[in-house]
Subunit: 197 residues, 2 copies
């Protein structure tokens, strides 16, 4: 069982995550965090030294949660099925959020790249890991001739991640699954992904 202090801490982090996704990191103030979590200033500063400490812990938790998502999302009977499964899950994950908030790392990439080396470093690590996982899957699919083999797996992986991030951006802007869904479908086709093989 968690103590009241632990519950308050969790509440602050959960509300902060939602605010960072919707309003952005920069626009979210300490007062926003207090209002959303129903916490007093004294309580918040008991748990976190400043807003940056909240941002850092939200990003670190999201990193762990995203790594678990990647591992589950890539599961499949074959490498191609794993890739197909990932595209499907990425769409569903975003659909469930109603295309509000988008990708926290994408948002952080655009907001922190030029202003916060610490956060930018964490976000770079996430994308590096994600591209690496894609490269491994694409490489396996290439070995089984379930995907085009004329372009190196690493190049395809980097383009795929760019397309997924851009697709999430467009779906969030249109408040519709369609832009991401169509970009993922086109991606399957240009990759020559053969799932039933």
């Amino acid at each position: 069982m968690s103590t009241k202090g632990e519950q308050t801490r969790e509440k602050i982090l959960n509300e902060a995550r939602l605010l960072f996704k919707q309003k952005g990191f920069g626009a979210t103030t300490i007062n926003d965090l207090l209002d959303a979590s129903g916490t007093t200033k004294g309580n918040l500063y008991f748990h976190f030294s400043d807003k940056e400490a909240v941002v850092l812990e939200v990003l670190q938790r999201e990193q762990q949660s995203f790594y678990r998502f990647i591992d589950q999302a890539f599961s499949g009977k074959s490498a191609a099925a794993g890739l197909d499964h990932f595209f499907h899950n990425a769409l569903e994950k975003n659909r469930q959020s109603g295309f509000v908030g988008g990708c926290l790392f994408g948002n952080a990439a655009l907001e922190t790249s030029d202003t916060s080396p610490l956060f930018a470093g964490l976000v770079r690590d996430v994308f590096t890991e994600w591209i690496k996982k894609f490269e491994e899957k694409i490489s396996s699919a290439q070995a089984a001739e379930q995907i085009r083999t004329d372009i190196p797996a690493g190049d395809l992986a980097e383009m795929v991640v760019a397309t997924v991030e851009g697709g999430i951006m467009q779906s969030r802007l249109q408040k519709s699954a369609d832009p991401l869904k169509r970009s993922l479908e086109t991606l399957r086709r240009v990759l020559g992904l053969k799932v039933n093989q």
Copy 2:
């Protein structure tokens, strides 16, 4: 010749654009705008009713400037050459900025989608127009068999814009032209773009 008032107004808009690109819209305060432009509060509020009015005019100007960029960037002897030229110019445009700031519309898409219908509407218009221009060029290139013809031009156009935006995000995060450059190169290949034909 412009009056002193017009010069002040220009100065505020130029500095605001840089701040919005680097810090984001939400994190930029009126005080940041005053510091950067060396203007008094009274002067700023003489020209603009509030921060939103500054954001709106910066976005409207960027929209016009981006439409001019699109028309120039797509120029070429053939449709395929136009597409190739666009990719080249998009990379150069971002390289010149040292990958600081990225794409103002991409940033605005992520920051304003959930919080400001007016700005989100303007940003949606920009992407709709950009995708439409890509679709026209790809369609012409398909008619001349300078690009793959097995996927509708509109689907390819939507994926291309997503990839370019995601590539800019990755290059900004890495502070290097390489991610965008590689993604554009891979895009050329998966599109089957034949420039010298």
